[in-house]
Symmetry: C2
C-alpha cells in the first residue's frame, strides 16, 4: 500500500476538537455539556440574509465569477470604504470562508520553505494552511501577564532570516481576545518596511471591539499598501459560519492576480452563501448594537466569574469572543479531558479548548485554556459554576 503524505501527519490535532469523543460519551451518559470550546455563536443570522436565500428565484445554480459576484464585491467595497479602508471591487477576491483567504494568501505570497512569524498563542488552523502551503511558522510568544499584547518588536526581529517573508496577525485576536492598538500596528509597519515583508491581517472579528475601543485595520497603515493582505469573513459578523464566505483584500494587484489563478482552479465561491452575504450587507444597525451589548454582558459576567475563582487569571479581552485563561491545574489537556470523562456537577460539565494547541512552542499553554463566550448568560452562569466546582476537586490542582 502506498504511503500517505507526511504533511498530513504533521498537522497537529485541533485543540477545539481534541476531546469531541469524550464530549459525545458524556452526552450519551446523559450529561449536559456546555460548549465553551468552539467559536460557533448562538446569535441568529440576520433575517435579511436568510430571506434572500428563501426568496431566491435561481433556476440554475451556476458558478459565479471566480473572484465572486461582482455586485457583491462592489457593495463589499462600500462597506470597507465606510471603515476608511479605501479599496474597490478589484482589490477584493471573494473566498470560501476566511479559511480559503488565508490559504490563497499563503499560496500566492510565499514559496515552499519560506517563513512567517506569528505571535503565539494563535488560531490553530493556521497550522493546517501553512502545512498545505509548505510555509514554516516561527512563533514569538505573547504572555498572559501582558494580557497577550504584541510581544516586543525585537523578538520579531530576532526571528528574521533570509527566508522570512511575512508576519501574520489576527486582530481582534482569536484565541486571546486581544485588540491590537494603532501603536502596535505602527510598530509592525516599521518591521515590514525595514525587512521587506508582507503583513497578513486576519480581521474577521472587526465588529467585536469593546469598551469604546475602535478597530485599527492593517489596511489603515499608510505607504505600505503593497505589503498588506487582509483576510475577512462573514462568519462571525453575521453569525453565518456555514455560508463559507470570506474575502482576501489587498491593494497589491499582483497578489490579486495570482490568487485569482488559484481561485479559478477551484472555479467559484459558493453561490448561495454569496447571495446571503450580499443581502447581509443590509443588516440594520440595531442588529449589531444588540449583538455587541450581548457579548459585552457575557464577557463581563464570564471574566468576573473566572477571576473570582481561586488561582484563575483571566485578562479582560477587548475584542472577539474568546479569552485565554490561566487555570491552577497541572495540565489543561488532562483537565479538559477529566471535565468530560470524570466530572459532573448537577449532571452537567464544561468543554474547554486546552491552550497548548494554540502555541507552536512545545510546553507552552499547559496551564491555559481558551474559553469562547458564545452561550447565553443563563448557560454561562451554569458553566462557570461547573468550572468553579471542578477546579475545587480536580486531583491535579496546583494551588
Amino acid at each position: 500500500m502506498p504511503k500517505i503524505s507526511e504533511r498530513g501527519i504533521r498537522i497537529p490535532e485541533s485543540p477545539i476538537r481534541k476531546f469531541v469523543p469524550y464530549a459525545e460519551e458524556a452526552k450519551r451518559k446523559g450529561k449536559t455539556v456546555y460548549h465553551l470550546n468552539i467559536g460557533q455563536p448562538d446569535i441568529p443570522t440576520p433575517e435579511v440574509a436568510l430571506n434572500a436565500i428563501r426568496n431566491t428565484d435561481l433556476k440554475v445554480v451556476e458558478y459565479s465569477h471566480s473572484a465572486g459576484i461582482e455586485s457583491y464585491r462592489r457593495k463589499l467595497a462600500k462597506y470597507y470604504q465606510n471603515l476608511e479602508i479605501h479599496v474597490d471591487h478589484n482589490d477584493i477576491l471573494i473566498t470560501t470562508g476566511g479559511s480559503e483567504a488565508i490559504l490563497f494568501g499563503m499560496l500566492s505570497c510565499f514559496n515552499p520553505g519560506e517563513e512567517v512569524i506569528i505571535s503565539e498563542p494563535y488560531y490553530a488552523n493556521y497550522n493546517g494552511f501553512s502545512i498545505a502551503a509548505g510555509v514554516e511558522i516561527k512563533p514569538v510568544t505573547a504572555s498572559i501577564q501582558n494580557g497577550f499584547a504584541l510581544p516586543p518588536i525585537e523578538e520579531f526581529e530576532r526571528l528574521i532570516t533570509p527566508k522570512t517573508k511575512g508576519i501574520i496577525i489576527c486582530n481582534p485576536n482569536n484565541p486571546t481576545g486581544y485588540l491590537y492598538s494603532k501603536e502596535e500596528l505602527l510598530k509592525l509597519k516599521e518591521v515590514i518596511t525595514t525587512y521587506d515583508l508582507y503583513l497578513f491581517s486576519d480581521e474577521v472579528y472587526r465588529e467585536f471591539c469593546y469598551d469604546g475601543h475602535s478597530h485599527f485595520s492593517a489596511m489603515h497603515l499608510e505607504g505600505v499598501d503593497e505589503q498588506i493582505v487582509m483576510m475577512d469573513s462573514v462568519s462571525k459578523r453575521y453569525s453565518s459560519c456555514g455560508a463559507r464566505i470570506g474575502a482576501l483584500v489587498t491593494k497589491n494587484r499582483e497578489i490579486i492576480h495570482t490568487a485569482l489563478k488559484f481561485a479559478q482552479a477551484r472555479l467559484s465561491p459558493p453561490s448561495f452563501g454569496q447571495i446571503a452575504a450580499e443581502a447581509a450587507l443590509e443588516t440594520p444597525p440595531e442588529y449589531f448594537k444588540e449583538v455587541h451589548q450581548e457579548y459585552i454582558e457575557r464577557r463581563n459576567f464570564m471574566v468576573n466569574a473566572l477571576n473570582k475563582m481561586e488561582g484563575v487569571v483571566c485578562p479582560l479581552p477587548k475584542g472577539a469572543f474568546y479569552t485565554v485563561t490561566h487555570l491552577p491545574v497541572d495540565d489543561a489537556d488532562k483537565f479538559s479531558q477529566w471535565l468530560l470523562s470524570d466530572f459532573e456537577y448537577n449532571n452537567a460539565t464544561v468543554m474547554l479548548a486546552p491552550a497548548s494547541g494554540f502555541y507552536a512552542t512545545p510546553g507552552l499553554g499547559k496551564q491555559e485554556v481558551r474559553i469562547a463566550y458564545v452561550l447565553k448568560i443563563e448557560k454561562l452562569e451554569k458553566a462557570m459554576k461547573c468550572l468553579d466546582e471542578a477546579l475545587k476537586v480536580y486531583p491535579g490542582r496546583t494551588l
Copy 2:
C-alpha cells in the same frame, strides 16, 4: 516590495478563460457570443433541491461537521451503494466542490516533489491543484486518432520513477468526452498493483454516459480498495455548479483521517449547498431521463455538424458533454481569439477553448479545441453555422 510566490507564476492561464476579455469586447460591440468554451450547463437545477433552500427554517447558519452533514453522507452512501459502490458514510468526506476533493486528495496522498501520471489532454485545473500541493504532473498522450482512448499501458510504465505516487483519471473524461471501459480500468489496476500507486478517479460526469454504455467506476475494481480515491461532485449531476458540493470517497481510512485534518482546518463545507445536495438525492428519475435525452440530441447534432465541415475531425464522445475536435487551422489559440475579435456571421460568433491548455506537453493540441455542448439545439445550430463560415474565411486555414 516582497516578491510574490513563484508557484503562482507557474500556473498556466486557464484555456477556458483565456479569451474572456475578447469575448467581453465582442459583446460590447453588440455581437452575440455562443459560449462553447465552458462546462456551465443551462439545464435547470432540480426543483426539489431549490425548494429545500427556499423552505429552509435555519435560524443560525452554523458550521456543519468538517466531513459534511452526517445525514447527507448517509444518504450519499446509499446513492453509491445503488451503483454497486460499497461505501458507508465514514468513507465519504464532503468537500467544497469536486475541486477541493482533488486538492485534499493530493495533499493527503502525495508529498511535495512526488509525481502523478495523467493522460493528456486533461482537465486544466489539475495544474492549479498540483502546483498548490507541490506535485508534479507527468503526461502520457492520448491521441485523437484513437478517440482519446487510454494510451498503451507501457507508456504509463515508461514514466514511472521512484517519485511516482499515483495516476489520475477523469471518467467520463473532461475535456475529451471519452468513457473508459472496464478493460481499461483493469489495465490501470495492474499498474497500480505492480508499482504500488494510488489511482485517483474523478467521476463527476458519471451520469453522462451515452449509447447504452454503462459507467465502470474505479471503486468497482476489486482487491485495491486502499489505493483508490474517487472524486465526485453535485455540480454536473444536478446542474448545481454554484452549490460547491463535492466528495472525496475512499475505503482507505488513513486517507480519510488525513484529509479530515485539512478539512478541519477549513472548518466545514458550505451549509446551504449541502442542504440542496441532500435534497437533490430525491430528484425524480424523469429528470435524468430528460437531461440524458437532451445531451444525446445535442451531441449527435454537434458531432454531425462538425464532421461535415471540411478538415474537421470530431470523435464521437461516449460521455460527459465535451469533445476535443481537430480543426484545419494553424493555431487554435489564434483562431479562438480571431473568432472573437475579427469575425462575425449574422452579428454573432463562437467562443471555444483552445486545447493546448489541456496538454502538459508543449506544442500539442495546437489544431484542437474543446467544445462543450451545453447550449440548446437552436443555439448550437447557430453556433455551428458560425464556426463553419469562420473556418471558410480564417486566414490561417491549413487545408
